[in-house]
Symmetry: C2
Subunit: 428 residues, 2 copies
């Protein structure tokens, strides 16, 4: 059987894993797909870099175009990252009839619909399992496993760096700054951690999951994002005392074809299965109208887990090649896009207020909630041990985002409230 | 577009769910597959039974052959259960070129290879996602999501009834008999619970998962089975004290193409993600050489979750129909079958012994372990509060099944040991 020829863009962490799996499991893979899979060319940044694995130097090039334009190559595996330039490579590869396997969440979140449209035009496959949650086959699950269901809610811990930081803060009572520094030393966080800690990386992944789950075209700009850089160790302590764990959660919800997507630090009830996901692990919780609660857990990053997903996609491409059906099973969002307004987004809230310690303050505050139609689950007032005055801890019942914003705006005008110390979404 | 015509065998719990989803999501499904999916005929036991959903009576028949032999029908959805007679229906349907979606674990565990061979002969699809773990798309995950990896271990809580019973016993300190009675009243356990509580149902599902995970032909007789009917509330109490939860675990392991599959009550370390899976929920933990730890969690049974999987399979059949590729992606186990011997199966053990309370007994016992090359992780001796003598609680390091059996056989001959009260596998 004629071998399938692969062009690899990028030989970093994931690229190295892809080569290792293709070499190590060659016999297994041939048995499954009926033909050998051969890496024909690899585009790298620096041909002379020392590497942890041995690659035939004649396969290396520093020019990605050389890979894209090689007529012998059937499939491009893109694990180099980047957005604009990479998009140009991918689009040209598709025009040349090459199938694409990519781990690039940035590209898919920003230009997924353009890439998929180009793929359809050219009857090519574009698979991107590795772009979300590394080794967890969540994209397949949403496309195929739940094809029969209506997804109501997707909650994801889809960024390992922030989950590592929050888990450590929770387990050790450490501060954000200290744990971030440690994570950077361990290589779990980048030297510029903005994309992770400000929730941008998670937002990209949630846009991809939302598009698949709700079958409508979710764009990155639809995702409301708040990162973890302001989460204090006190916040986590309060959360734990109330029976919650603090997690950076992506939450996508859809009712009657209207959706909302957010990423924010969230207090998750400890009894919820996603609350127990710690360290660099990822998990995606999916609630379907028919299937109910499900959760998928695994390594969200790393050389081998991510490469597992890349090569699984590659196998799918090769099987389609042999059947001659590439590009014919593409999932194109077919539902009209309707974003929820702030009046339609409901959730529970946690608030921590620093207030005057005198009679009538609590009444004034609870009165405000009542006026804006936010009902309360629990209110605890206690003397503030750090600053003068008292501390009020409030958990609301489910309330609209719009109402909560009115409450918070009003609180800003109240003299008896010194400070709105913390506000978090609450789940579970 | 010409509608796809479905023949339904069975209109019990799952069958009802399938009809509900096909009717309720009709528009969604047509958008996905490009043609309407119509239920043409339904075989039921009793045409005149009162049902919770309205079905056109002209579609009902009490003769499954009428469905199988209807030339208009493209796909048979089998949710009636049963083995020998049902196999006959399925094989004839395949001979007539009809594709099969089944939720029948008994059939697939016993005759899966025969059914799949017949399907290949006739270029038909046979999908059976719903046969294991209800709404969790674990079969797809093993076939496609982890196609690139080597699966080393699969641990499953794949029987909701027994997980409900053990969870209740753990949470409430109740006895097996009391909880079983309650489960029967709630409809979580059958009036004859043997198949569930003796582990046979779990064994069938593990045979299916093993076949897919290890790509070799695992037969039901390869699964060593022990049920939960002898698990006492004291055993669970001891487990909890040591930091374990008692679970009926299916465990399939494969190293260097040699596998073992067992189902037994197992003490699982509380920190292991599968230990927190409670009630009627199912979970499958998969450890892959490259992907590492993953876990998939959801409802293991019930009308709508199971129907979700059945209809997802149906959608896959219909997509293949439109592409003309049915039966071409069948996964046939291609690896030679090599079962591990008892010398090759290693795990940790928990033992509870009732012994004479006098000097030298403990020495005699630990000496025996040493002779049979089983090393010990912990040993606790305490006075027995219920019967005369002392109680010794032992947790071994990982030891071969063969060695452990030698130890246990030797203990049977020792006068100082009154009773080997409990022996459990330990995981995590």
């Amino acid at each position: 059987m004629k071998p399938v020829r692969v062009g690899l863009l990028g030989l970093g962490t994931v690229g190295t894993g892809v080569v290792r799996i293709l070499e190590g499991h060659q016999e297994d893979l041939s048995s499954q797909v009926g033909s050998p899979i051969v890496i024909e060319k690899i585009a790298v940044k620096n041909m002379h870099k020392t590497r942890t694995l041995t690659v035939d130097p004649s396969k290396l090039t520093e020019d990605p175009w050389e890979v894209i334009r090689d007529p012998e190559i059937d499939v491009i595996v893109e694990v180099m990252g980047g957005v604009e330039q990479t998009k140009a490579y991918i689009l040209e590869a598709l025009e040349r009839g090459k199938h694409i396997v990519t781990a690039n969440k940035d590209l898919m979140a920003l230009y997924g619909s353009q890439v998929l449209a180009k793929a359809m035009e050219n009857q090519c496959d574009v698979f991107y399992e590795a772009s979300v949650a590394g080794g967890i086959p969540i994209i397949r699950t949403l496309i195929e496993g739940f094809s029969s269901d209506r997804i109501v809610k997707i909650m994801g811990i889809v960024n390992g760096t922030t989950n590592y930081i929050l888990s450590k803060m929770s387990q050790e009572g450490a501060s954000y700054e200290d744990v971030l520094k440690e994570a950077q030393q361990l290589g779990y966080a980048e030297s510029d951690p903005t994309s992770d800690v400000e929730g941008l990386d998670a937002a990209r992944k949630m846009a991809i999951l939302g598009t698949l789950g709700f079958r409508t075209n979710v764009e990155l700009s639809d995702v409301q994002v708040r990162g973890i850089s302001n989460v204090s160790k006190e916040d986590i302590l309060y959360a734990k005392r109330l029976g919650y764990e603090m997690k950076l959660l992506g939450i996508a919800e859809c009712q009657e074809e209207e959706f909302s997507i957010t990423v924010q630090p969230t207090m998750v009830k400890k009894t919820h299965p996603i609350a127990a996901v710690n360290g660099v692990y990822n998990a995606v919780y999916v609630f379907g109208e028919a299937v109910g609660e499900t959760m998928f857990y695994g390594a969200g990053a790393g050389e081998m887990p991510t490469a597992t997903s890349v090569v699984a996609d590659l196998i799918a491409v090769v099987k389609n090649l042999r059947l001659g059906v590439n590009g014919l099973k593409a999932i194109v969002p077919y539902k009209p896009k309707k974003l929820k307004t702030d009046e339609q987004i409901f959730y529970k809230n946690f608030l921590l207020l620093h207030v005057d310690d005198r009679a009538g303050v609590l009444a004034q505050i609870t009165q405000a909630f009542a006026e804006f139609e936010v009902s309360l689950e629990s209110v605890v007032q206690s003397p503030n041990t750090n600053v003068p005055g008292a501390e009020i801890m409030i958990v609301t019942h489910s309330a609209s985002k719009a109402s909560m914003e009115k409450v918070l705006n009003y609180f800003e005008t109240l003299d008896v409230i010194h400070r709105i110390k913390s506000v978090y979404r609450v789940e579970g």
